[in-house]
Symmetry: C2
Subunit: 336 residues, 2 copies
Amino acid sequence: MRKPNVTSTDVARRASVSQSAVSRTFTPGASVSEKTRERVLKASTELGYRPNALARAVISGRSGLIALLVAYLDNQFYPVVLEKLSRSFQEHGYQVLLFMTDPGRQDEVVHQILQFQVQGIVMVSATLSSTLAKECADTGIPVVMVNRYVATSSASTVTSDNIEGGRMVADLLARGGHTRIAYIAGAEDSSTNRDREAGFYKGLAEHGMTTIGRAVGGYTMEGAAQATLDLFSKDKVPDAIFVANDHMAFSVMDVIRNTLSLRIPEDVSIVGYDDVPEAGWKAYDLTTISQSPDRMIEETVSILLNQLENRAVRKRAAVIPAQLIVRNSTRKPVEF
Amino acid sequence: MRKPNVTSTDVARRASVSQSAVSRTFTPGASVSEKTRERVLKASTELGYRPNALARAVISGRSGLIALLVAYLDNQFYPVVLEKLSRSFQEHGYQVLLFMTDPGRQDEVVHQILQFQVQGIVMVSATLSSTLAKECADTGIPVVMVNRYVATSSASTVTSDNIEGGRMVADLLARGGHTRIAYIAGAEDSSTNRDREAGFYKGLAEHGMTTIGRAVGGYTMEGAAQATLDLFSKDKVPDAIFVANDHMAFSVMDVIRNTLSLRIPEDVSIVGYDDVPEAGWKAYDLTTISQSPDRMIEETVSILLNQLENRAVRKRAAVIPAQLIVRNSTRKPVEF
DNA sequence: CTGAAAGCGCTTACAG
DNA sequence: CTGAAAGCGCTTACAG
């Protein structure tokens, strides 16, 4: 037996009150007498009534929906962020509309998003074309990009202090006595890669050093494996590699140990970036930089909710301090 | 400059047609002349009109929303499933509403879900109380539980053939010449654990064998680490362990190698379940059972969409064949 | 093919 | 506090 959808009118009839009274009962802060409220609640339970959130959204202009755009989840950093973000929005009374985007097809997806009257958009490691960013801004929908930075955009950004993070890695490797340092890049066009690399070179320069090699892994494990082989096919092989993120670093470590039969950290030190859960697993025990996902999420939610409540607020760019996590994939600096 | 929301009426006015004509232009299959359509489209572009999907949902009774309930994402199996499911629903024209649930608070969450008039619910490794399952059934909202099975429920289920999977593991270990075999369980009350364990014992029995020990890891890495220490603190230590899932198996392997200083597979063989991406990483190279997530997702989407289109369809229980993936965490059977 | 009109389920001034 | 009424943006018979 399938119940036809129960509406506020049905409840009103049963409780012998007006439809408005039913609506008020389910509107926090609306004025209803205790007696009316009780009758409405009783009738609602009996009929199995549940307010239609969609109709409410249409009339109130507040959908309670936040769109979350994610490009891929194989790098464990994203599930972590996704889970924390979702929980946080839920706790604040918002629902999360999830969109998996393909690079390049993001604009198409955003069109769908806008149809659903989302109140805000969070993009994780994905960037919005400037046209679309403007479109959102015009519509008054705040956009926060997490882990990516686009200068021209009207969107807010939340990123780790990638430049400082890169610098810290350089410092650790330099003080560890490494002399043949290499870098494995992520996607060349990503702001995270640019900043981590820039900070890394800056940090090396402070020690009067530079890299002996560079290869591009494109943020994939396969790319990183190939990049590693490339670096070790040269005359001068690295004694330390900074890999643009942990996800690639695991692949680099596997190749170094299993294909090249070298020891970590005795022959080569490896440093990653992100401090994803696997970095703490003993098989890798990877020295890395924590992006402090908790703080990133906190900032993201706070920026977005602020903009929802006070539409005058301008975009913001939050930079979360980087934190060095020293494990055993790197030789210890002498001072340690 | 913030555009006020553009509505179909605005477009109608600009295009000098009726509001109905605008609506029809955006309704696939509705009858509009080419001339009208063009005028509407032109006006829409000029004004930046986008149909309000929420209003459409209210009137048509089809929200186009599917709720996805996930309990946690730290086991990489879930992000994989989540990503594939989302993409598949998107491709079929549905949007995904994501809910992270806490065990025990699932009913509360489902109440919110129902308010959003979702057309279907997919629960990944989460179970619905029977009360709530009935509530959904009454409302005519199909529910599919992935990776969990509840006999009494009116929900459809999609699971790996966990019994056969467990049996295959037993067979592999028995034929590998192991004589002191142990089992590390997941959450005792989960159907996946029950079935994997039952199949495992059944398979051992076929070889006239049984286990020498059993410990409970509760599907967490910490629990699995402790379970491993417990098993190795007995007089008779295992030479093979079947761990209820890969996520725990990684922790087991770390403890065996780093804390107990034993070799895998020379001293102990390890088998997991799920074939998550990390199982293929060389540092673990874990023998495991693939749940064939692609096929699980395919079944899930197909069951749900079928029920949406033809409400007469009853619940279904799909069982996906298990597939043994032999890597190097296990001693090879003599026949190999 | 087209427009006027009714209606989806709700919120929210408005007047009492 | 309460109800009648207008209205959110849309779809969909209905009559032409």
